[in-house]
């Protein structure tokens, strides 16, 4: 999808712009997330991490969304999915927290290492990512928004999911309800054009998902999700709309998936390497680096220091997580009901 074809149906409201400081913070977070993502993928190949789903190619859209919530919503809460490492990291999940999850170690904060990595809940960090069943969190996010509205809170709910999830019937039901009740929610669709192996052409007969927004009488936009500033602008407008009682919107990010669906997948049987090569030219990390260095905001020295800091942090976190024990088997019967 070329940028010229992208359409924006959202109202043309001004967003609180990203500052230089914001862009550098986003770059630092993106470096950390990319380094962590590469590390856990390597640890999977070493036999240390049982399952990994990569966020590589999605990071700009995810970080722009979090910054849009922070800077434009009085309060917010996120329902995320399994490919949202940059969202969870930006919300405060540390590299060691995540690594304990990938290695299923004691002290993993989201589920006590009961669930796949990144799954469970951190309400203290404003996110829930409970299920491995795609789309189940979309009506739940709408329910959370209903609760916030009923209590008169000024919370904006952000619900993240991929293009594959858009095919679920519950997603349609949830969006319909959200629009009827003008709930304060934004649906962030990270469209990497593949539902595991199934391409867009076999997922929907329309060119871009956001076209469905019209059927729900909500604004929908498709934006280059590898571009931090464009993503931030689209996300911010949707967040602001939700915050002032204008109801839900769909923000579809056109992103890339550089790695197989998960570490258990083999994408060589369904993707042309040339396609991935082409997609690499849109690498959100490279694009942000080019933006910052090209405008003189990031010197080579500072860039090298930031990369080293990210590597050091991941190294320390990896050692610490690897040294942690597995959970005690006594934990297995706990938290079934309020009585246990």
């Amino acid at each position: 999808m070329a940028d010229a074809e992208l359409q924006t149906d959202l109202p043309d409201a001004p967003a609180d712009a990203l500052t230089t400081e914001d862009l550098l913070d986003i770059y630092a977070t993106m470096l950390l997330v990319r380094t962590l993502d590469e590390r856990v993928w390597a640890m999977n190949r070493q036999g240390k991490a049982a399952i990994v789903a990569s966020s590589q190619g999605h990071e700009a859209a995810q970080l722009a969304s979090v910054w849009a919530l922070r800077k434009n919503a009085p309060d917010f809460f996120c329902f995320t999915y399994y490919r949202d490492l940059a969202v969870t990291t930006a919300l405060g999940l540390t590299a060691e927290d995540s690594l304990r999850g990938f290695l299923a170690r004691d002290g993993e904060p989201l589920s006590g290492a009961r669930q796949f990595p990144q799954h469970g809940a951190a309400p203290e960090l404003k996110f829930i990512n409970h299920s491995n069943v795609i789309g189940t969190h979309v009506p739940q996010a709408v329910g959370w928004a209903l609760g916030a509205k009923m209590r008169g809170e000024d919370t904006v709910v952000a619900c993240f999911f991929g293009d594959g999830t858009t095919s679920q019937g519950e997603v349609h039901e949830a969006m319909n309800f959200a629009s009827i009740h003008k709930l304060p929610i934004v649906f962030f669709v990270e469209n990497n054009k593949y539902a595991i192996s199934v391409p867009m052409s076999r997922q929907m007969a329309i060119e871009r998902y956001a076209l469905r927004a019209e059927g729900y009488a909500m604004p929908g936009t498709t934006v280059d999700g590898t571009d931090v500033r464009a993503s931030y602008q689209a996300a911010s407008i949707a967040v602001q709309l939700a915050a002032i009682g204008g109801g839900p919107s769909i923000v579809e990010f056109d992103v890339e998936r550089y790695l197989p669906h998960t570490s258990d997948d083999d994408d060589t049987v369904y993707r042309d390497p040339a396609e991935i090569e082409q997609a690499r030219k849109r690498d959100p990390l490279e694009k942000l680096h080019a933006l910052l260095s090209g405008t003189g905001l990031l010197s080579e020295e500072r860039d090298a220091a930031m990369k080293k800091r990210a590597r050091d942090e991941i190294n320390v976190a990896t050692d610490s997580a690897e040294a942690a024990p597995f959970p005690s088997d006594e934990d297995v019967f706990r938290h079934v009901t309020s009585e246990t």
Binding site: Q115, H119, A121, H130, S131, Q140, G143, F177
Partner: protein
């Protein structure tokens, strides 16, 4: 003490809880101006307003899913599925999600919601307005499942369910709605989840049952009394967690057990009750555990002759009891 029907008891339970706690609200198909197809929420819209009495689109999966999310956010939703036959789209949210969220979040989250639904047949409901759905939910750790049969239990258990911090499936037998009357106290009370009740004391044989077949079992017990047989009738009331102790106590007393329910027998609540008795009270038994349950056909048919062939009636229960007593 007022004498009310089951549906009136249910309505009162919800009205009192909504008046007591502003986080309680109802959502479902036709619950607003229509007051629910069985009038469970009659006049609620006028009393509590459309913020707390939400008419939903005809979409059961999201009725459950939105209730799960609202419960996660701290509210106490009562979601109504109009007929239990329509409950299958909610399985993803109730069994897949609500039941597992406390566990999957290591106790960080909980889902204090109620999903109410009229179930069961013998009302000429045919395949899609008669189903017994309890076993699917009672199988699932993390859920609580209640199936009250009297106005007192319906009101008390529904109140307990609304106040519970876990997801509770409340199954209301639709034939009891207007046909069963009974007293309920004027003052506030709950029936604790997880407690069975001996509805009739006896010494010769125990019937373990719940739902509509409680009433048919009571009729059969009265009939057997005329024949000189003393039948004890245990109403499970809660299907998960099962009150094992009350069941075993009755078995130890009578040494003969008939398990009765409308649901078909295979992999059912009766299967679990029978297994528990075999495991924990084998040496007290003077006869094999017998069952009187719905047949192994997909659902209760519409024609009166076919419906009668399905239903475990007082006559069928009495016949099984005579067989058991004669063993």
């Amino acid at each position: 003490m007022a004498v009310v029907t089951v549906i009136e008891a249910i309505r009162e339970a919800m009205r009192e809880e909504m008046a007591r706690d502003s986080s309680v609200f109802v959502m479902g198909e036709d619950v607003g101006r229509r007051g629910g197809v069985f009038l469970a929420t009659k006049d609620f819209l006028d009393e509590f307003g459309e913020q707390r009495v939400i008419d939903t689109p005809l979409a059961e999966a999201s009725i459950a899913g939105i209730a799960v999310g609202a419960a996660l956010s701290g509210l106490r939703p009562i979601a109504e599925v109009q007929f239990a036959d329509f409950i299958w789209p909610t399985v993803n949210q109730m069994i897949g999600e609500a039941a597992r969220i406390r566990y999957g979040s290591n106790g960080k989250l909980n889902v204090p919601m109620v999903l109410r639904s009229p179930y069961g047949g013998h009302v000429r409901g045919g395949l899609y307005h008669s189903q017994s759905v309890e076993s699917y939910f009672a199988h699932t750790p993390g859920l609580k499942v209640v199936a009250p049969a009297t106005p007192y239990d319906a009101k008390g258990l529904l109140k307990a369910a609304i106040r519970d911090d876990d997801p509770v499936i409340v199954l209301e037998h639709k034939r009891t709605y207007r046909s069963v009357r009974g007293e309920t106290p004027d003052e506030d009370y709950v029936v604790p989840i997880g407690l069975a009740e001996v509805k009739r004391e006896g010494t010769d044989v125990s019937v373990i049952t719940y739902g509509l077949t409680l009433h048919y079992s009571m009729q059969a017990a009265a009939e057997l009394e005329n024949e000189g047989v003393s039948v004890e009738v245990v109403d499970l009331r809660t299907l998960r967690p099962l009150d094992t102790e009350t069941v075993l106590e009755s078995v130890r007393k009578t040494s003969k057990v008939l398990v009765v329910h409308e649901d078909n027998a295979a992999v059912s609540v009766g299967s679990e009750v029978s297994a528990l008795i075999a495991e924990h009270a084998f040496e007290y038994l003077d006869a094999p555990v017998m069952r009187c349950a719905g047949p192994e056909i997909p659902a209760m048919p519409f024609a009166p002759t076919l419906e009668a062939a399905y239903m475990p009636t007082a006559e069928k229960i009495a016949a099984k009891l005579r067989e058991l007593v004669a063993y």
